[in-house]
């Protein structure tokens, strides 16, 4: 190959590199700038936050302390952690055996069962909310508590079941057969053989479920809205803005505080997340 040829080729490669990476930087700005403006505004004084300024004159770190000590804010945290934590635990415990049966057992009606799981997964929560609300509020008198949000999660979540099933399908049957030959019952096989291999799938499901509860707005709005002591962060945050409707700096500080745990958790569990998202779409 002549040197002129390679020269042209490599300069084309350089151009391509520069083009792709400038596009990448432009896209990155679109994704990052909202976070930057959010942070900058959260550190402005109350008056400056109402102006067109982009950069804080004085850095009001005290805004975060102010938000933190707003009456109710800590309660919302506790409620959200309770809802997300307990809910995630219950979902995983109840969804694993169902997903295992759907992935690995042969039985009549298996296809139908899976179709119904998918139908439940696609069901907008608003479709069944009226009877569910009447059931929790009128029959059990539990509106204004977190129970209507947490208890259903003990009965398997359709999305988690589906995701876990997709994951369990990738575990070869030979491992299960080997355990059965060794005399393991199904429960032992599930606990000793399948669970250790399914750890990444379970991690993904747990994370999704945690964030789903963390982000839930509709559920708390329906069941907890009349009792501020049962509000969660998502619901409280919106009301926070309502009550402080001129204070963009405090609202943005509160917003940052609600986003932060999600983002921190993501950095610890990036792999599980990306794997989970991929699993829903690609191995369908």
């Amino acid at each position: 190959m002549s040197s002129a040829h390679t020269g042209r080729r490599s300069s084309k490669a350089v151009l391509h590199w520069v083009g792709v990476h400038s596009l990448g930087v432009a896209a990155a700005l679109f994704f990052v700038l909202p976070f930057v403006f959010l942070l900058l505004t959260s550190l402005m004084g109350e008056r400056q936050a109402l102006t067109r300024d982009l950069w804080p004159d004085t850095w009001e770190w005290g805004n975060y302390a102010k938000v933190w000590h707003t009456p109710g804010f800590l309660t919302w945290w506790r409620n959200t952690l309770l809802y997300a934590g307990l809910g995630t635990l219950l979902t995983v415990v109840s969804s694993v055996p169902v997903a295992y049966a759907l992935a690995k057992f042969r039985f009549r009606g298996r296809r139908l069962a899976l179709l119904l799981v998918i139908a439940m997964m696609m069901l907008p929560p608003q479709v069944v909310v009226i009877p569910m609300y009447l059931f929790w509020a009128k029959q059990l008198d539990l509106s204004g508590t977190l129970w209507p949000l947490i208890v259903p999660m003990a009965f398997g979540d359709a999305f988690s079941i589906f995701l876990l099933r997709q994951f369990l399908l990738t575990i070869p049957d030979e491992y299960l057969d080997a355990a059965r030959v060794d005399g393991c019952g199904e429960v032992r096989t599930l606990l000793r053989v399948v669970l250790p291999m399914a750890r990444p799938g379970i991690a993904a499901v747990a994370l999704f479920q945690f964030f789903c509860a963390w982000n839930d707005y509709f559920g708390p709005q329906i069941y907890a809205s009349d009792n501020p002591a049962a509000w969660t962060l998502s619901y409280g945050l919106e009301s926070f803005k309502g009550a402080h409707h001129t204070n963009w700096n405090l609202t943005m500080a509160a917003t940052v505080l609600v986003m932060a745990p999600v983002i921190v958790l993501f950095f610890f569990a990036q792999k599980a997340f990306v794997e989970g998202v991929t699993l829903t779409g690609v191995k369908g």
């Binding site: 990155a28 909202p34 608003q126 009226i130 009877p131 919106e238 309502g242 917003t255 609600v258 990306v274």
Partner: protein, 314 residues
């Protein structure tokens, strides 16, 4: 009992075992899906305020929703707008970002993280942030647009711009699609590109004739799941409308939903408006069933036996 027959006993044991493993979901299905769905159907034919007994009133609620309820058709139109425009934009942008990330050679991990993070932002927090960012007078976006001499729309305060503003918010959270597309793009066999390159196919021809056919099932998946999500779109338009309107939050707040001028009203909001603000549970159930019919129609697309996008494991 004939249980002594070993084969039959074994079969019965295995049926019992399957039932035991499925039991959490079987109970959940009955209590949180089947029972409320049938109740919703029943309530839709009654006048019911939650206090007095439901009174059968035939198709009154149904005809009220379709002919007299002033919010139904605006909400339907908005939902269809979001289904068409928001889903198209999200899939196209997600694919674009997915393509871009597969081409990036340096610092790909950082780029991927940056593109993915907004997807994780809690919807209410992200919406609040966008209402602030797109605040017409003082928001940073209009400040920047003004600085480079572009027009500065009213975004969430302008009925013509509120849905595009919601679309921008949805594009910000496109990280899930990026990941799915990235995985699909990396799965396309390299040999096909090499063969096409030898045949002298340009970049566009390769994309058109190799990339697209290979990833078309994933595109369909993204479209259909996107449509279902768009029909359920709730927290973002509701919070955007309320915050932009300056409604003081808290319980029992009555406000005309869909600010400005019903432009951010979606079908799920009507269930809330009818049921929990007007205590007209019967009529709310009609809207819930419309929503159900729409989402199940699209779900059926996902699950068709042939060419369906979610297989049942056969």
């Amino acid at each position: 009992m004939t249980g002594a027959h070993p084969l039959r006993a074994k079969r019965r044991r295995s049926a019992l075992r399957t039932t035991a493993f499925l039991s959490p979901w079987l109970i959940g299905f009955a209590v949180f899906f089947l029972y409320p769905l049938l109740s919703t159907l029943y309530f839709s034919f009654t006048r019911y305020d939650g206090f007095r007994q439901p009174a059968f009133n035939g198709l009154d609620n149904w005809s009220y929703v379709f002919t007299d309820y002033p919010l139904f058709w605006p909400a339907m139109r908005n939902t269809l707008w979001l289904v068409l425009v928001m889903v198209t934009c999200r899939v196209a942008f997600g694919l674009g970002i997915g393509l871009l990330i597969t081409k990036i050679k340096t610092g790909v991990g950082i780029f991927r993280t940056l593109f993915y993070l907004p997807y994780l932002a809690p919807p209410v927090a992200a919406t609040l942030a966008f209402v602030f960012l797109l605040n017409p007078g003082t928001g940073p976006v209009n400040t920047l647009l003004d600085a480079v001499g572009l027009p500065t729309p009213g975004w969430f305060t302008d009925a013509d711009w509120s849905k595009p503003a919601l679309t921008a918010l949805a594009l910000w959270g496109v990280g899930d699609l990026m990941v799915i597309f990235m995985a699909a793009l990396l799965d396309v066999p390299k040999e096909q590109y090499e063969a096409a390159e030898l045949d002298g196919a340009g970049a566009w021809a390769r994309f058109r004739h190799i990339t697209l056919p290979n990833i078309s099932p994933i595109i369909m998946f993204a479209v259909v799941t996107g449509v279902i999500q768009a029909m359920q779109y709730y927290a973002q338009p509701l919070v955007a409308g309320k915050v932009a309107a300056g409604v003081i939050g808290g319980s029992g707040q009555q406000f005309e939903p869909g600010y400005p001028d019903k432009s951010t009203l979606t079908l799920p909001q009507l269930v809330y408006n009818l049921g929990f603000q007007r205590f007209d549970y019967g009529t709310a159930c009609v809207v819930a069933l419309v929503l159900f019919a729409l989402s199940m129609a699209f779900t059926a697309l996902l699950m068709r036996r042939r060419g369906g996008l979610i297989g049942a494991g056969e």
